[in-house]
Symmetry: C2
Subunit: 444 residues, 2 copies
């Protein structure tokens, strides 16, 4: 539903919320969960995990009988294992004891747009739609978009906040330094997907829980990727530009517009988003290449072990891998040099996977025939970011995962995790990025 | 393939041509042909057509033995049936006698873009790539983009041209008046699809043959439609505009960006293009509505008899019907008023199917939430065309069917029809728009 009238929107949220939530129960999502479990490091067997969860359950029952309000302060210099254990104990005990929490949300400001759509939940003004619910339980809920520099609003609350919520669209960067200052911090929630705004090692060492609303925007991002592939392939942007400039020059567009049919598309990474993209590419009747073997049977895409080889074959390359130390700067001058001349690149994953200057130079030389994405390093992109001005780009601000539909999903998912946190319950397993001092393997 | 380097492009055309031609042999195309035959008026039974073709074959053999160079001039005042018969006779006789022809092609000028891509065939400079082939057979081939007004280049050649080729992107309007002047005219070829630039009744009355390269750009247009649906749904245009303006305001985009998943899309018309679109929409998992009953089983789309009812249910409406007297102005104020508030409309069919001012007013009031298409009335669109300046439009010049891939297909299809014309052979049946004084039923 995408009504823009207030009357119609008023009646829409409940059914939308129900429908969107059900996405997490599709076979696709279930298979994604299986996949995530299959990706555990070899030394962590599933049985080990089951066993450890059993232990955790017993620990939790034990800690529920205590109500130490701040064990961390009692033991400032502790060994790491104890630090973690005590953070966990704090989270559980304070949650179960009915303590009120200080929750800070960092979103983008919507200003005049905030009131245009009651489902527009992901902005400062509408604050995920959970203010009344939180405040009715006595929690303090502070929301801001002011997140940078030593005097920003976020910085003021770092020393005593318990929970920090942030979206990928105006991320609150959680550095080791901020984690050190945040003596009460227990939980870092991503309203959306991804964790590259957080120093995960520092978070794990400090025993924090980091979680996202897994699956909340995978459909939104996959659809957006297909749109960007088509926009680049069809040379849409200069065409539209002609229209608003009062011009008409078909040749200026048509000399480099192609059908997508018959082209070879590769995705680097085929997790939740990558496989949704591959499904949507299926009817276009072209070759698809990707890096996840198990998808071969499911979607009929050809698996390639070697990225260096894959990029030589693709007309279009889509980045669908998280930013990690392994993937940072992966698409450098050398990797781009291996690609076909005129390659189209779509990157809604993270900007730092690309080497910024290498992209600019290749776009200027024509080696990259088109580049589209919504991710920048840093965000918001400064006015002088060279990707704004390189040729044949179809960039936007970071928007692909913040459709109204996605906002309803990640607002509902964030609320659900807060609710479980207050009750001392586990989150859905697939949402954890850092738990009990361990980083989920795909983020290592 | 979409290489932009000259070296790589040089090696590309033959394989591309082979691949693209094979598209006409897909099951989809075959079923389209069946469909077209099923759509013959009830009084024209298939057996009648077979029989008539048998007669035609005998007539042709008879006429091959004659070589009247211009029977039309010998009998200036004739009954309609004789007029037609004689035009046919002329076409066959001159073709088989090895007479040379004056062929005029009207395309768009590419200027500096013409040399950028050797497969960029649809422009004046590259002239479908058939100049050498035509001239080696002694035919005269004149190409221009100057097609309007009494002193234009086209007008000079009207009196003595035999064949007029035109694309939909810079159409040569063939009025009854021009047909009257064109005493030698036998064949009107559309390099591409569609015939609304021709007064078909006048062409039929004059016994002209009108044909298109059926199927040559259906994939291109269907892909482009999906792109436009996504561009409107995701509010892409203002997002990109922010980037090139040095801005960053996620809220300005996100407050009206939606997922396509779960929305209801309807196509008005489900011929070749419409059904390719429906196939491509299938993995998006939303409701699709359209008007062709037989597609229900094939693609799982729901058929609706009544357009007035269909438009009330759609979040997105795609126009995929030819412009005829029945469809001209079909989407007027009343029809748009029936649609959901905020409806998205994609129209790559023909602009005159919409009532121009009704679209502007509905876009300004917000009743139409977004309008995208590449068709205008007239073309090129004048600088002051209001669709250039209405809100939430994602318009381009007429480009959706002129990708490099489509150009290869329609250049090959045009050459094939010219070759058959010179040899006195029939065209592929599905290409005829007017034949033997009869207009194909879907254009009536």
């Amino acid at each position: 539903m995408f009504f823009s009238s207030d009357e119609e929107l008023d009646s829409a949220p409940p059914s939308n919320l129900r429908r969107n939530r059900s996405i997490c129960q599709t076979p696709m999502m279930k298979s994604s969960l299986r996949w995530r479990h299959q990706k555990l490091p070899p030394h962590v067997s599933p049985s080990f995990w089951i066993l450890r969860r059993g232990c955790m359950y017993l620990c939790r029952q034990l800690f529920r009988s205590l109500s130490t309000s701040n064990p961390f302060l009692l033991l400032p210099s502790k060994p790491r294992w104890m630090h973690q254990r005590l953070r966990i104990s704090k989270m559980i005990s304070t949650a179960s004891s009915g303590d009120t929490k200080k929750i800070v949300g960092v979103f983008y400001k919507a200003n005049k747009y905030a009131s245009k759509n009651p489902n527009f939940l992901g902005c400062v003004e509408n604050a995920l739609g959970i203010r009344d619910w939180l405040e009715s339980q006595g929690h303090q809920y502070i929301v801001t978009d002011d997140k940078e520099g030593p005097n920003c609003e976020l910085e003021k609350h770092i020393p005593d906040l318990h929970v920090l919520i942030s979206t990928p669209f105006n991320p609150a960067y959680v550095t080791a330094e901020r984690i050190k200052k945040a003596k009460n911090l227990q939980l870092l929630l991503r309203a959306g997907i991804g964790s590259d705004h957080i120093d995960l090692k520092a978070a794990a060492a400090a025993g924090l829980t980091v979680a996202e609303v897994t699956g909340s925007n995978v459909v939104s991002v996959a659809e957006d990727e297909l749109m960007r592939i088509l926009i680049l392939m069809r040379n849409f942007v200069p065409g539209h530009q002609q229209i608003i400039n009062g011009e008409w020059n078909v040749a200026g567009i048509a000399h480099r517009a192609y059908d997508l049919e018959g082209k070879t598309v590769g995705t680097v990474g085929a997790g939740r988003i990558g496989r949704l993209l591959l499904q949507r590419l299926k009817p276009f009747g072209h070759d698809r290449l990707q890096m996840e073997q198990e998808l071969e049977e499911e979607i009929g895409a050809k698996h390639m072990e070697n990225l260096n080889e894959m990029v030589t074959k693709c007309d279009v390359i889509v980045i669908n891998t998280p930013l990690t130390e392994k993937t940072r700067g992966m698409f450098n001058k050398e990797m781009i040099g291996r690609m076909k001349k005129g390659v189209l690149i779509v990157n809604n994953a993270r900007a730092a996977i690309m080497e910024r200057q290498a992209v600019v130079e290749a776009a200027e030389s024509g080696h990259i025939g088109g580049y589209s994405g919504d991710v920048w390093d840093p965000q918001p992109a400064p006015k002088d970011h060279p990707w704004r001005y390189m040729p044949n780009q179809a960039m936007t601000p970071h928007i692909s995962g913040t459709t109204i539909d996605a906002q309803l999903r990640y607002a509902a998912g964030t609320k659900d995790m807060l609710d479980r946190f207050f009750k001392g319950e586990d989150f859905p397993a697939q949402n954890y990025i850092v738990k009990d001092g361990e980083i989920a393997p795909q983020y290592v």
